[in-house]
């Protein structure tokens, strides 16, 4: 049966290739740092399920140390020049967007249909893994269309992927690390403590009060952290799951999706989210550091209210 195991093997192979190509890149003065970092990620995807918690823990600590001590550089694979890109864009026109449409199309269709495929009476794809398998199939299908269309060498996707991986750098693992942090926090009981503190400050005995505390809490916590991904596991363990889902029987999909988007309202107004709010100020040479935040604040506030209302009406719609 095809499932996440095969997809993890594919992702692991991709990171292994990125590590190998990094090691051979003499243009990158920190090539061994990059090779070690992406190599460890490859190990995690290829063997993480077999090496046990402790070895995985050491692997995470090693990744954090390589990242924290500045061990990552930027690879520089040979690529096309801006002029060649301009010419290629003229030649291919909007066909360039076609492969990008294949990924979501295959992902959505596959998510809905793959689970009913059978081979000799057995399901070919585990129902719970249908989306993940479809995503991988979508990427493979899109590459199969794009490679001949662009007449690019077979190694091009890996080399270009490596360049983008290096551009993202350690931040590529931050969402996964924050999800892991949330799991650890939940096991340590952080959610109960935070939930208890909020519950003592405001009574949370109606669905509406719980939704307000959750959406506003997501936004405020994101303002403090500068990162909705960090706020999500904490607030969800504190209020989202115990109150909205378990006590008041709200829809967890609505809670999760709109909860995260409430956090994004906080991202729009915090200088802690420097990439979004301070970097553009510098890029555009605006003297006032707060200029972008000031423009975004009214939209953020209205959307937080909209999110709160949406969650209240949609999560308890049944």
């Amino acid at each position: 049966m095809i499932g996440t195991g095969q997809v993890y093997a594919l992702v692991g192979a991709m990171f292994a290739a990125v590590a190998l190509l990094s090691a051979r890149d003499r243009e990158n003065p920190r090539r061994w740092g990059n090779a070690a970092f992406w190599g460890l990620v490859a190990v995690s995807f290829l063997a993480g399920g077999r090496i046990g918690g402790f070895a995985n823990g050491l692997l995470v600590i090693a990744l954090a140390l390589i990242a924290g001590l500045g061990g990552l550089g930027q690879g520089a694979p040979a690529t096309t020049s801006p002029a060649e890109r301009e010419a290629s864009a003229q030649r291919l026109g909007d066909r360039l967007f076609l492969p990008t449409l294949i990924v979501p199309a295959v992902s959505v269709i596959g998510s809905l249909t793959l689970k009913s495929l059978t081979l000799g009476g057995h399901a070919l794809v585990a129902a719970k893994d249908a989306t993940v398998v479809s995503l991988a199939l979508g990427v493979i299908a899109a590459l199969a269309v794009a490679l001949p269309m662009l007449k690019a060498p077979l190694a091009a996707p890996l080399q270009e992927g490596r360049k983008l991986m290096d551009t993202v750098g350690w931040a590529a693992l931050l969402p996964q690390a924050l999800a892991a942090l949330g799991t650890v926090f939940a096991a340590a009981g952080v959610g109960q403590v935070v939930g208890g503190l909020i519950g003592r400050a405001v009574p949370l005995d109606t669905p509406f009060a719980a939704v307000c505390a959750y959406t506003i809490g997501m936004a405020l916590f994101t303002v403090v952290m500068g990162n909705a991904f960090a706020a999500f596991p904490v607030m969800t363990a504190a209020i989202g799951l115990p109150l909205i889902v378990h006590r008041f029987h709200g829809d967890p999909a609505v809670m999760g999706a709109i909860g995260m988007l409430s956090g994004f309202c906080g991202t729009l107004v915090t200088p802690m989210a420097a990439n979004f709010n301070l970097v553009p100020v510098a890029l555009l040479e605006i003297p006032d550091r707060w200029a972008v935040i000031r423009v975004q604040a009214p939209t953020a506030l209205v959307l937080l209210i909209v999110n709160t209302a949406l969650m209240y009406f949609l999560a308890f719609r049944a």
Partner: protein, 231 residues
């Protein structure tokens, strides 16, 4: 109460701009230790949690495809499309960019567009030029800066409230993966669908503000104060 040290480390670490990956690892270990688990157990818990959440990082599987298309001129094509937009009013121009950015975001193409790629070199100058044409002369400096801030804001708002519609985006997988570990199993497609109402609300709210922007820009300013000083 002691376990809150994890939250404190997280907030403090981000505040002093330490490497976030390192901060997260330290915060996780500290929370486990504060909960009375031994050091070996703390490392194992972190490792198991990291391994259980690998799903989040499969979103990077699309990078080779994006890189390949960029090599073939994807960014260049997006620029060629944008500069073809012929809109006289700066607010409408920003709204057109907002809609395009939401569409590419929902398709998982967060890298098409962005502050460095598109706003600084193309969108902000186009909006400024449109405003100058419309007012028939130079744009006062505060208004120019305000318009630039609006160009940056349009990009941020559009991408924040569209990327979650793509099922393989990091935050969708983070939500799914974290809820999985807490025993609530969902399909990523459900999460994507529930991101659509907020995306439409963002379009309505921010779109209306961008239309109002044109009205404010058309009038000669009563004084040198930027228009957002009035509510």
């Amino acid at each position: 109460m002691l376990v809150l040290i994890g939250v404190a480390i997280l907030a403090l670490g981000f505040l002093i701009r330490a490497n976030p990956l390192l901060v997260v690892v330290i915060a996780a270990l500290a929370a486990s230790l504060a909960a009375g688990h031994g050091p070996l157990q703390a490392i194992s818990e972190l490792g198991k949690a990291f391994n259980d959440n690998r799903l989040v990082s499969i979103s990077w599987l699309v990078l080779p495809l994006i890189g390949l298309l960029e090599r073939g001129g994807l960014q260049a094509r997006a620029r060629q499309l944008i500069v073809r937009i012929r809109l006289e009013a700066p607010g409408r121009l920003l709204l057109a960019y907002f809609v395009l950015r939401q569409i590419v975001g929902a398709l998982g193409l967060t890298a098409v567009g962005g502050q460095t790629q598109m706003v600084r070199p193309i969108i902000a100058p186009m909006a400024e030029a449109a405003a100058e044409r419309q007012r028939g002369g130079v744009l006062p400096e505060p208004l120019r800066m305000w318009l630039r801030a609006h160009a940056a804001a349009a990009d941020n708002v559009a991408i924040f409230f569209s990327e979650d519609i793509f099922i393989a985006f990091g935050s969708v997988l983070l939500i799914k993966s974290f809820l999985d570990t807490q025993g609530v199993v969902l399909a990523p497609l459900q999460l994507s669908l529930w991101a659509i109402p907020t995306a439409l609300a963002a379009l309505a709210v921010h779109g209306a503000r961008l239309m109002l922007l044109d009205r404010k820009l058309k009038l000669p300013p009563p004084d040198e104060e930027p228009p957002e000083a009035t509510p």
